[in-house]
């Protein structure tokens, strides 16, 4: 669990650092341009953030941190839900500004008191006076302190107001605020930042021209969430640093949720965290999922039961079956022998990962520039494909090799250089040979180039001959001949070399990109519960209800309920019967008819034991009916209707 917490922390740090990096460039721009403040115009920045609303919080937090560090201590973040009116907005604004003032010089207790008194009246003038006093105070403060603050901030730091979700602010509040503050822009250097989820047009739709003319808006586009995702995948999954890995289906589920549901990086991370939790919770051998250095220690501390668990792993069994019989017995009976073997296997697995990532990146270099992207443009798609099955057996791989054989030289050379770089960056000696080989290819290409330049001189001459013949017929003929000869000509040296390169890459792929579930002990580090994950993250409550009502047998394993096809048996729970009956009705349902139908069904199910106690039975059925109906009401299928006496209205299926 400690590992897991570490992982989480690292994860978030990654994200935050990434976000702040992506925003630092905005910041530079902002600083430049706040200098050019114009009269009566409030400088404003519109930040287009995209629809992944949930990530915005993090972005803004990063932004405000950067702002506070570099530009101004006075940053206020406003959210629409806090500001239903202009009064609340001002209150909130004042509160935040004054609070951060306290942070800046928290030594002066008097100041705090003063601030709290100030809170009584929240208006623009009071804000201005506060601002004046604050800036003056910083001027008059002790030189040391002054230097301290002025080195960080300017002489008169602007007040930055961030509107986190501009779309959800009421128009009037925004308009009022802008108009009021434009009146005071001389005294108060105000900067607005709007966070926008949809498109920059929204500013003009929200604000009338008279108001938007008061703003001097500059537009910034934040990075798309897809890029965030690929960075995260890059940093988390495609490194050998994190021992924990995702199985193919799980990754597919997570990516699908991201792409088709919310575009939210945060949710992706949440899913990832959940995977980690699930893995450590459900897999007893996840203890072994740790960094390389710890493996030895942990393997030796395993108990007998845990060794038994290892023996039960399907991948381990496969491994055992491949060994010769003497070793098999050893593996299955001797704990200490297994100990050594396990350690070796785990280390193998680790090495495999390292190699896997490197080769994957190399392959990605090749495939990502092929036309049509048979193996996907993003490295995550390639990763999925490789995890799923042996990538070299797929059609896509075949076609991409075919395409790779048609690459031109410059592209090929740059790709090879990139591959060399990637492989060089690895610490292991595994790839020394590969690097050498690739370098050899590179030099050969250079040689070819030299040769080619010589050849060019030769090839000019036939062209000259061509030009002599001006007759159209002859021209055609010679052209055809040329074409013929070109086709029949043997492969040039370059082409030969190209084939060689591609074949070599192919061999690398076959060797290193073996899908993970063919490796022994992959269960330790790979999480494969895609169904669980989907159930928890992307649940379908309506489907569950539907199943329970239509097919109670799914949940209640009773033979009497068994029924195939669309119907249900009449022994089903009351609510199922009532539900089924109500499906046959239109918009309004007559309760009496419903009751009658219900009692028909129930009576038939309960062995008609004659009219002796029919009255009492009737009451019970009546009561059961009432309960079932009110349960349906609670579930939102029906509601009482006033249109007709003793009728209820259906709410589902486009009912009302």
């Amino acid at each position: 669990q400690q590992i897991q917490e570490n992982l989480n922390k690292q994860l978030l740090e990654n994200l935050v650092s990434f976000l702040s990096r992506s925003h630092s460039d905005f910041q530079e721009k902002t600083t430049e341009w706040t200098c050019k403040m114009k009269f009566r115009e409030i400088p404003a920045a519109a930040l287009v953030l995209g629809v992944n609303v949930t990530d915005h919080d993090l972005t803004f937090r990063g932004l405000s941190d950067v702002l506070q560090d570099n530009i101004t201590p006075y940053v206020a973040m406003l959210e629409a839900k806090d500001c239903p009116g202009i009064k609340n907005l001002m209150q909130k604004l004042m509160g935040q500004l004054m609070n951060c003032e306290i942070d800046v010089d928290s030594l002066e207790d008097e100041d705090c008191v003063q601030v709290s008194q100030n809170r009584v009246r929240c208006s623009m003038p009071s804000l201005i006076s506060w601002y004046d006093s604050v800036t003056k105070k910083t001027d008059s403060e002790t030189p040391s302190k002054k230097r301290n603050s002025s080195s960080r901030h300017w002489q008169s730091p602007p007040v930055v107001v961030v509107f986190k979700d501009m779309e959800s602010f009421t128009t009037k509040v925004l308009q009022d605020f802008i108009v009021i503050s434009s009146q005071h822009i001389h005294e108060l250097p105000l900067v607005l930042i709007f966070g926008i989820a949809t498109s920059p047009m929204i500013i003009h739709r929200l604000l009338p021209h008279s108001v938007s003319s008061l703003l001097c808006i500059e537009l910034f586009q934040s990075l798309s969430c897809k890029e965030h995702l690929s960075t995260i995948i890059d940093k988390l999954l495609l490194t050998s640093q994190f021992p924990f890995k995702l199985g193919e289906k799980v990754l597919q589920v997570l990516i699908n949720i991201f792409l088709y549901h919310d575009f939210s990086v945060q949710n992706f991370i949440k899913g990832f965290q959940l995977c980690i939790v699930e893995h450590f919770y459900s897999q007893p051998l996840s203890v072994l999922c740790c960094h390389l250095v710890d493996i030895k220690k942990r393997v030796y501390s395993l108990s007998h039961d845990q060794y038994e668990n290892i023996r039960r792993l399907p991948s381990f069994r496969r491994y055992v079956e491949k060994q010769e019989s003497g070793k098999q017995i050893e593996l299955l009976t001797n704990d200490s022998f297994l100990k050594v073997e396990t350690k070796k296997l785990l280390e193998d697995l680790h090495v495999y990962h390292e190699n896997y990532v490197r080769i994957l990146r190399c392959l990605h270099v090749f495939t990502s520039s092929l036309p049509k992207y048979p193996l996907g443009k993003q490295i995550r798609e390639l990763h999925c494909a490789c995890l799923e099955n042996r990538v070299w057996e797929t059609e896509e791989y075949e076609s991409s090799l075919q395409l790779a054989r048609m690459l031109n030289k410059t592209d090929l050379v740059t790709m090879l250089q990139q591959c060399v770089e990637i492989l060089m960056s690895s610490s292991g000696k595994e790839f020394d040979r590969a690097v050498e080989k690739l370098k050899e290819f590179l030099t050969q290409f250079q040689n070819l180039e030299a040769e080619a330049s010589q050849e060019q001189d030769v090839s000019i001459s036939p062209q000259k001959e061509l030009q002599k013949k001006t007759d159209l017929y002859h021209l055609q003929k010679t052209l055809l001949e040329l074409k013929e000869s070109r086709r029949s000509k043997k492969l040039t040296k370059f082409e030969m070399l190209r084939f060689e390169v591609v074949d070599y890459i192919d061999s690398l792929v076959r060797r290193y990109l073996v899908p993970a579930d063919e490796r022994t002990l992959h269960e330790v580090v790979y999480f494969n519960g895609a169904a669980v994950l989907r159930g928890h993250l992307n649940a379908a409550p309506r489907t569950a209800l539907h199943t329970a009502l239509n097919n109670p047998h799914w949940y209640l394993k009773n033979q009497a309920l068994r029924c195939d096809g669309g119907g249900i048996s009449n022994k089903a729970p009351d609510i199922c019967i009532v539900y089924k009956l109500h499906l046959e009705c239109g918009r309004l349902i007559n309760l009496v008819d419903w009751l009658e139908a219900f009692s028909t069904v129930v009576m038939a199910a309960e062995e008609p034991n004659d009219a002796a106690s029919s009255d009492q039975v009737d009451d019970v059925i009546h009561a059961r009916f009432i309960r079932a109906v009110s349960e349906l009401e609670l579930l939102g299928f029906i509601k009482p209707s006033k249109q007709k006496t003793d009728h209820v209205a259906r709410l589902t299926w486009g009912g009302c």
Partner: protein, 575 residues
């Protein structure tokens, strides 16, 4: 030769460059594969780059399509997976349009369902032919399929005509399946129809239900014609759709519960009756619950890791949560919120947190302030932990936007652990992305099949027609605290109202008439005393006054007639 070639290539480059973007895109996407590659060899370097860019674009499209496919495939995977909830129900089945039903469909279905025991109980009965065993099955399926096939047809049509390429693509996969299904409905409907009708009528003849005659006389459903060609079907469906939605009059029978001559059940008798009635499938339900209970420790772990848990599925999850509480939360601070309680508010939840958990005395101006206070306290004191259990997070009182917002913010605090249950089918619609991320839900399906005893026991959640016991008891309560005269006045009014109950346009008793009657009964001696008395009634919401068109004041008791009758009976007993 080199020159003309160069010329051509340059011209081509121009050509490419000056075509408007959209055209190029269209063009490229049409034959990107072949043409671009062919061109590539000829074009000069700069042009190549340009084309490459375009290629990128077109490939983007291709990739999108690919992803589309992936998605469908992923869905398919989900269906094939041994998912715990392996309900591979297609969306169309769960959410479909409404189509008008024949008025007696329900009775018919009921009789069909009633029919099934014969095949279940006596499968070895010699008299029971195979057909008999088969028919109800088929007919049931047929009823549903009729609807579904219509729906699918329409959907397909719609997609083809209006929606862009993308949707068509998405639909392409399940298509054959649909086709086959609709065909099936066609094939099975014809042969079985008439048989079925006969079966129904014969079986019903010994059961005394009014549904019998209707069911027997129903004409065979009209889809035998409809299935013949799609166009007609389409037209039919459209008509049916509008018929179902536009017509304000719905054809249902006029029978009311009043005429059923059955006394209404009070809450108490209802409760008693249900208690005596044995719960079906108790063993299976217990199994199901035990399965859920095994997850408790997992929930605990996940709550502590910053997730919140929401339970969904049919059946009351109250007992489950209670068990969770008693087994794991005994020693920790926890708060149970009964969301189904009709007068619960967010404010009361927040109050109980501030007052009972944080021991804070004092009031707050708004829930937001209160929330801020709570947030601050929990952030300051990291040892403070609170478990919040909410039964029915989706209840009437809590489902509002603002209350959900507040609850979401509350749940996002790291030391507040929320575990909640939802029941309403549309409950997930309460939350937008922002709230969802605040809640940080983990969904757990806990279908319990337990009856919603507590949840439906409050008067508000019951159908109004069934009992007025709460209204009645409150009426009694208030009246008992009044003087004898006042009670008499109210009785008079109630009796008068009951006399006029058959008159639907009864406006109420005019003040003057009422005064006369009261005088005659020696209940009041002046206009003023009566008015004072009425004011008191009005304050307790016992009566309502309305001014008629002629300016006369009319008095009305806003309680339904049956409750009023009950009330008078009780009063008589007391006196």
């Amino acid at each position: 030769m080199s020159r003309p070639e160069g010329m051509r290539s340059s011209r081509r480059s121009l050509q490419v460059k000056f075509v408007p973007d959209e055209d190029v895109l269209k063009h490229i996407s049409d034959d990107a594969g072949t043409k671009v590659r062919k061109d590539k060899a000829q074009l000069s370097v700069s042009v190549k780059r340009f084309v490459k860019k375009l290629e990128n674009i077109s490939d983007n499209e291709a990739q999108e399509v690919l992803e589309e496919k992936n998605y469908v495939a992923a869905l398919g995977i989900c269906a094939q997976d041994p998912v715990e909830n392996g309900s591979n129900i297609s969306g169309g089945e769960v959410y479909s349009f409404q189509t008008p039903k024949r008025s007696n469909k329900m009775a018919e279905l009921a009789s069909e369902l009633a029919q099934t025991p014969e095949q279940n109980v006596a499968p070895d009965h010699s008299k029971c032919p195979e057909k008999m065993a088969k028919t109800p099955q088929n007919s049931k399926m047929f009823l549903l399929m009729h609807v579904f096939s219509l729906l699918f047809q329409s959907k397909k049509k719609e997609f083809v005509s209006t929606t862009p390429y993308r949707l068509r693509k998405r639909l392409a996969a399940p298509d054959p399946y649909l086709e086959s299904e609709s065909e099936y409905s066609a094939s099975c409907s014809e042969e079985e129809d008439e048989d079925e009708q006969k079966e129904v009528s014969t079986v019903l003849s010994d059961q005394k239900t009014p549904a019998k005659t209707k069911a027997a006389s129903t004409p065979p459903p009209r889809n035998s014609i409809a299935k013949k060609n799609k166009e007609q079907k389409m037209g039919n469906l459209v008509e049916e759709y509008f018929e179902a939605h536009s017509s304000s009059k719905v054809l249902t029978s006029d029978r009311t519960l009043q005429k059923l001559r059955k006394r209404r059940l009070s809450q108490q008798t209802l409760h008693d009756l249900l208690k005596n009635a044995p719960l079906a499938y108790a063993a299976e339900i217990r199994d199901l619950n035990q399965q859920h209970e095994s997850l408790f420790s997992k929930w605990m772990l996940q709550l502590h890791l910053g997730f919140n848990i929401v339970l969904y599925g049919l059946g009351s999850k109250r007992d489950l949560l209670e068990k969770f509480r008693t087994s794991l939360l005994q020693d920790s601070v926890h708060l149970v919120v009964n969301g189904y309680f009709p007068s619960i508010t967010v404010r009361s939840i927040l109050n109980s947190i501030t007052e009972e958990v944080l021991d804070h005395i004092g009031t707050f101006r708004s829930p937001l302030d209160q929330l801020e206070f709570i947030t601050k306290r929990f952030k300051e004191d990291s040892s403070l932990e609170l478990y919040v259990l909410i039964h029915n997070l989706d209840s009437q009182m809590l489902r509002g936007e603002r209350s959900q917002q507040i609850l979401a913010q509350l749940s996002s605090l790291p030391s507040i652990y929320l575990i909640a249950s939802i029941d309403h089918i549309n409950a997930p619609l309460m939350w937008d992305h922002a709230k969802l991320s605040l809640y940080n839900w983990l969904w757990y399906e806990t279908t319990t099949f337990n009856p919603y005893v507590e949840e439906t026991s409050y008067e508000n959640s019951l159908l109004v027609q069934h009992s007025g016991s709460l209204a009645l008891s409150s009426l009694m309560h208030v009246l008992h605290s009044l003087t004898l005269n006042a009670r008499g006045i109210f009785r008079l009014l109630a009796q008068h109202q009951l006399e006029k109950k058959d008159n639907p346009s009864y406006p109420g008793l005019s003040f003057q008439d009422f005064y006369q009657q009261c005088r005659e009964a020696f209940l009041v001696n002046s206009d003023l005393t009566l008015r004072a008395q009425l004011t008191e009634f009005r304050d307790h919401k016992l009566i309502r006054t309305k001014r008629g068109a002629d300016g006369v004041e009319y008095l009305l008791i806003p309680v339904d007639d049956s409750t009023l009758t009950d009330f008078l009976e009780k009063e008589d007993e007391d006196v």
